[in-house]
Symmetry: C2
Subunit: 327 residues, 2 copies
DNA sequence: ATTTGGTGATAGCTTTTATCTATCAAAATA
DNA sequence: TATTTTGATAGATAAAAGCTATCACCAAAT
């Protein structure tokens, strides 16, 4: 039990009561005397002088209010009370060892659990390709991955909810550290029996009059699609906003409209190409740029930079035909 | 892990390496900053100044080799590594709390486990009458009772194996603290159909020629009995030394001889008086004096003196007709 | 019985650590 | 733009940890 009272600022002193405060050193000394039952031998093994040891044990005994040892010129014995407390002192020292061991382990490798935020339009379609390979590089690295829309991602990064995020650019805040990774194309998807399905890529002007499905407003994709629809006279279907890319896809198949879908999603999830026709706008290819982002003062920033390099290598190696890595 | 090397006595300094030694205070500071995420607020609640807190956290971070916090002018965040170590720091502080709580508990009462040695010819026949009553006086007192022959009892008291002993006098060592408790008569026991069984007390001269059974040599009783047999011409049966009082009793019943048995044993264990005749030697009553004994420098010596008083009271109260309490 | 060696304790001093006040630079807020 | 709040730094003071020298007491050896 520890009690604090506030400092009296008018006095160039303060009264701080931490009731009964043994130090780690005193407990180490206690353990050493208990094992040798000889102050001089214990002092030597501890690397201090015998008077210092005597004073420190006396100080500890004064703090707790009773003697830990029976002293005589015949030798030293652990007292009954000392016998009771010794296991508890050892528990503190063991907990201290565990603390130091873990600190050492953390210091010598990225053996920590980082919280990474990802957008739901990207995370599930990118990370399954990347994380297994990343795991081979850092077998003890743990990434706790959680999805959030991009704007919320960046806010929660600033709030400390995430340690780093994978997010489309541009970043809302200029104060963040940004490592661009790759450019992902946004594909134009229509039902297989749609009039625009027969040809290859579609001219932007050809989408005039089309009903365009999109995700709800807080997704980054939404704004881009909105701009294009406005520019080329397509109808943005506000009443049928989907909550996920799969929902959008099902709606396209059912003939409710057309949509712009991310390249990685298509690559990852669309295994029956006959149901839908996938192409790009010929003259205005739409894409989004993704980056790894973290707080500039993060103590792990050096590791994060290395992590970004690893992301680029893996993506280039495994998804070269789907996205364009930024060197 | 802690490494020690020995002091170089020719240099008025030493090199002491306690690798990475956080102090309890630093861990308390760590926990406080982690919970407020603000150095100034944490310092105020700790009762120290903000520069002190900053320096102590910096020192802790230097010891473990990485940062526990991300600092910015926008505020403070726990780093990833700090998040990993915080639970371990809390474990140390919890173990420290347990240590202090237990120390406080010990300080405020004899709530410790004392190791008490007793002779097997006494302990089992005295303590069942005494300990329940003693327990009412000190409900948290624990006595770990172990039997050993008297000579060994005293040696192990000196060695610290026991904290106190219940032993017949005189003590082998004059350096021990002795509180005499009571005098126990030694009874003369013969088979019920023995020629000496018809009368009351027996004259010492009447034991001439009798076969006298006794315990093995290291028991205190042995020497007394040996002296009496030598003085009055009885035969000490060396070939049939028993190992316990019960064994002796069975041998008496079987007509193998007569014996001297302690009064408390008889009072406690002989519930079928028709099998044996119990009396005393009329002109030379044999007895043994018992005492509570401890090391004079024992920190619990004041309590032991009180314990001796309690023993006397209880024995006087419950065994007044069997033994003579020494005031 | 005397001498020697070993025990833990004490006095006075030095070194190290913890803490303070004063003030800084940087960022956020009004 | 001015003010407030943040954590950091410099220089000084106080407290704690450690030292050497020596003590009294007891056990062991002679």
């Amino acid at each position: 039990m520890i009690a604090f009272i506030y400092q009296n600022t008018n006095v160039n002193q303060r009264i701080q009561i931490i009731k009964n405060k043994p130090t780690i050193k005193q407990l180490i000394y206690f353990e050493a005397v208990a094992s040798t039952l000889n102050f001089r031998q214990a002092a030597q093994s501890l690397g201090i002088t015998q008077p210092t040891l005597t004073l420190q044990i006396n100080s500890l005994e004064q703090q707790i209010g009773f003697q830990l040892f029976e002293r005589s010129r015949s030798g030293t014995l652990l007292s009954v009370q000392g016998r009771e407390l010794l296991p508890l002192a050892k528990k503190i020292l063991e907990a201290n060892d565990a603390f130091l061991d873990t600190a050492d382990w953390i210091k010598n490798g990225p053996v920590t659990t980082f919280k990474m935020g990802v957008p739901p339009t990207l995370g599930p379609y990118l990370l399954p390709s990347v994380l297994p390979e990343l795991h081979k590089q850092y077998d003890e690295l743990k990434l706790y991955v959680r999805e959030a829309p991009p704007k919320l991602l960046q806010q929660q990064l600033l709030d400390g909810e995430f340690d780093l995020i994978l997010s489309p650019l541009p970043a809302a805040s200029s104060e963040l550290a940004i490592q661009p990774l790759f450019i992902e194309p946004i594909k134009f998807v229509v039902p297989a029996d749609h009039k625009l399905a027969s040809s290859g890529d579609v001219s932007a002007s050809q989408i005039a009059g089309e009903n365009v499905l999109t995700l709800e407003e807080q997704h980054y994709l939404h704004r881009q699609v909105q701009d294009i629809c406005q520019q080329f006279g397509a109808n943005l279907m506000r009443d049928f906003e989907g909550t996920s890319l799969d929902t959008l896809r099902q709606m396209i198949v059912m003939g409710l409209g057309v949509a712009f879908l991310p390249g990685l999603y298509i690559h990852s999830e669309m295994h029956r190409p006959e149901a839908l026709h996938v192409c790009e706008l010929r003259d205005i290819p739409i894409s989004r740029k993704h980056a790894l982002i973290w707080r500039p003062k993060s103590p792990s920033r050096v590791f994060f930079r290395e992590l970004a390099s690893q992301f680029r290598e893996i993506i280039k190696d495994r998804l070269d035909k789907v996205v364009t890595v930024i060197e």
